[in-house]
Symmetry: C2
Subunit: 230 residues, 2 copies
């Protein structure tokens, strides 16, 4: 299926998205130039598989539009999401200096465009360009602390607490009330929080008493402070 997607050099809109990602923004002009030179843009439809666990690791990715799921399969076919990557987020850094294979399945959660960088080329770039090496380090470090939070939250918090925590991180700071539009399907959010979709549903309804209203993807939060108490 890979071959069926157009592979293109980046157009200017895509370059802008790439340059706008928080971590790449720290790159200087020349480093950014080098990165875009080895980038290829690829398009996928919902549910397309970008790679399987165990496949030889070829690419480092940056999501341009849409959301991508990294997940693991158990022997009995259940899925566990490890990370959900949105626009501007990268994954696959850890493969640069590590094992020869992907450690997880990669799937498009919806229509997505991604920028793709051959690991071998990127490895060479990182060796030559200190800025790029530093960029990779920073994004790995960021992923590391994120996923450490994830482990701690999984182990300490109940479903409503995890949801409340997610909603709070989506709120603008210092607001007493807020309205949020979920950027993806609820089933994807459920996976991100380590829950079955039904459990997410029940978590939402248990947050009603804390002044949280749900209408489709639109979430209304009356009292941000009350949410913090959960």
């Amino acid at each position: 299926m890979d071959e069926m997607n157009k592979r293109l050099k980046m157009n200017s809109r895509e370059k802008n998205i790439l340059a706008g990602t928080p971590l790449m923004a720290a790159l200087g002009k020349p480093a950014l130039q080098h990165m875009t030179e080895i980038a290829t843009v690829v398009h996928f439809e919902a549910r397309d598989i970008l790679a399987r666990e165990g496949d030889p690791a070829e690419y480092f990715y940056c999501v341009l539009t849409g959301y991508v799921r990294l997940f693991r399969l158990s022997r009995d076919g259940r899925e566990a999401d490890i990370r959900i990557c949105g626009p501007g987020e990268t994954f696959g850094e850890c493969l640069l200096y590590l094992g020869p294979a992907y450690r997880y399945h990669i799937q498009a959660a919806e229509t997505v465009t991604v920028a793709r960088f051959e690991l071998s080329k990127l490895r060479k770039l990182a060796d030559e360009d200190r800025d790029i090496a530093r960029f990779i380090m920073q994004s790995m470090a960021a992923h590391l602390v994120n996923i450490m939070d994830c482990v701690a939250n999984d182990r300490l918090q109940t479903a409503p607490q995890r949801l409340a925590h997610y909603l709070l991180t989506s709120c603008p700071q210092n607001s007493t009330s807020a309205s949020i539009r979920l950027p993806f399907q609820k089933s994807l959010l459920a996976g991100k929080l380590g829950l079955a979709p039904e459990a997410l549903s029940r978590a939402f309804s248990s947050l009603k008493r804390a002044g949280v209203t749900v209408r489709g993807r639109l979430i209304l939060i009356n009292d941000v402070g009350a949410l913090r108490q959960i």
Copy 2:
């Protein structure tokens, strides 16, 4: 309490331990030399706190002997282990290019000696020495895949499965039976697996039927293959 522990330059035994860690072993002589020059050896007793979540991040660590716990506290005082670090393992890499504070509590699980590296000095070393930068990248990448496994396992596996998985990783490869000596207390293993001590106990007793015998810290595994089926 920090000030009560002797701070010493490394002796040769400690240098050997440090040089023997899998990742540092990849360092060349000069790089290793630079690392030992900025290292300080510190000693802690069981339950000593090396740092608290939120403390300004000063050091990168390498455990020389004993085990160290990285954990998070919930508001109601429950603890969740994020990682258990044994001899030769490092932690704190992610703070090199990131936030100004520790993201977790650090505690000695028993009597430990650690080598400590000031982040600012190490940052400078990494900037100057490509080998050291690469060493840091590799260990971050290794931690990243480890903790991704941890998230997936937490979400996919039951307590007996997690325990079986741990025992299997402690077995020598390709053996049909094995005897393992746990390197630390069971309560620490419980935390590592994201379980309450009681749950670990029950997991052990549920593995009896798979031919696992427990005598103190000594674990006997009759049939490694049977354990894999769990």
